[in-house]
Symmetry: D2
Subunit: 162 residues, 4 copies
């Protein structure tokens, strides 16, 4: 009995990134897994793969919410693959499923996830994001990003019900 | 026979706006209807209602893509109401359905629609938008916004296939 | 002012059908359009095309809710095309949007639409359907189907709120 | 490295069931978990809860794909909760995610999941289902159901690509 509530961290970013950004995503995934969080991503390459890989390396559990209809599109570091076949609309599911989001670099798809996260009142931390969106908390590096989202998620959990 | 292709203009913005913004949305809707375009919105209040109302006033056709499960949530200026019941994920459907988007003012939901539009390679014009997103073409006023999106949609229609 | 509520009839069936079934779908569309109803379909070929074509012939308005991401997949008799890109999940949107459903012949996709319609408490009439589902009202021919769904939709509209 | 492909079994059925049906769902979940499969359900009560509970009892992993926007709606036996907020349309995601489906008893929502499963060419086994749908393989009891779906999923995995 007794469902121990686990924390879900969404890590969002582009599917095609530089090695530097991939490393950052890995570090974010690692830090999240160390804290026992489930790492949720869109399940594909780039930042999504880096975050899942880092989490896996640290013994974490990774959840990939795929846009297409084929499970094999998931990167090799996804433990649980959800095959949505609803395309970009699956970005809303990532935002709903996560307790907070860290955006790493990112392109327009990432921006939609950030927007949904903010719309839903979830904390969103940005690492190397190119746009400036009010509500997104900037971070210096992966460790800083995870520490910031941790505090923000905690605050929200104990805060007044909206 | 012969399906005359019609143009679908998405007008996106917040559900709660000042009278000034509502007037702007009406003007955008009016200008679009005069050109024979179908005006697509999220079907609710605020900018969505203003745009539909303006389009209706000018004899245009209005399409509302609702987030909830109840058709009665549509504003009174919607001719065709699509009841999605998929919540914020319906924002992706608006972007897919439209040939181009005009964002008026707007909040985080609007930002997700803008992001999806850009992701899909659709032209996006911003009117009084608060964030600065690369790819969004700023406009001075409703007429300017409609003229700009018109040129951009035309260019895309005749442009090279991506 | 004053939104005149229009009736939305969903016509569901397979995308590949015999000429006989296509004719039946056309007749259903025609009868619906004569009554001033909007005909909602999945927007593709087969029964979806027949119903839209019949409705168009009789001067009706047709709404196609497409599964894919390309408006050009719509059959030529669709007036308003909604591009969902959410695949089979769009079947739920057809059921939500319609006041009642007529299933003509049909395969597994149709069955999901019938199931959603019944789940939502909407009247569902079956014409030449192969499965026997409790709750689906069988009809003899297209005219009978439209008359039956008309009475059922009326009854539901004036019935007690659930 | 090397993603060991796991099997996802969807267990679908009503949210409100008799103790007898709940027991059956538990037995199905248990048998699936013993085989090392991930048990996928809609995450709510009734058959969904029974299946997850049985799987958990046997040390299995359970995935719940929720229709609403609140993770707390998940039953206490769900390990991974996906918050879709897309309502009944999430039934399509369950069918896409699963390698095969076992329907236990069931109502109209279940029927939509069965229909999607068959539409996607996935094996579907029925246990105490009320409707007779061509393509659904009937089973005598939970053990029989799991053995049948096991053979069918195996056959499909090694069969010719469609």
């Amino acid at each position: 009995m007794g469902k121990k509530q686990r924390i879900y961290l969404g890590v969002v970013g582009a599917g095609k990134v530089s090695p530097e950004i991939y490393e950052m995503a890995m570090a974010v995934g690692r830090e999240a897994a160390i804290r026992g969080w489930i790492v949720v991503t869109g399940g594909l390459a780039g930042v999504m793969e880096g975050a899942a890989r880092g989490a896996r390396d640290a013994g974490g559990l990774t959840l990939g919410i795929l846009p297409g209809g084929d499970r094999n599109e998931a990167n090799p570091y996804i433990d649980i693959a959800v095959v949505t076949n609803i395309g970009h609309a699956r970005n809303a599911i990532i935002a709903h499923t996560a307790d907070g989001l860290i955006a790493v670099d990112g392109e327009y798809g990432t921006l939609s996830e950030v927007a949904f996260g903010l719309k839903l009142g979830k904390p969103v931390v940005g690492l190397k994001t190119v746009w400036t969106i009010p509500g997104v908390v900037p971070a210096e590096n992966p460790k800083d990003a995870v520490e910031k989202i941790s505090k923000l998620m905690m605050k929200r959990a104990v805060g007044p019900e909206k």
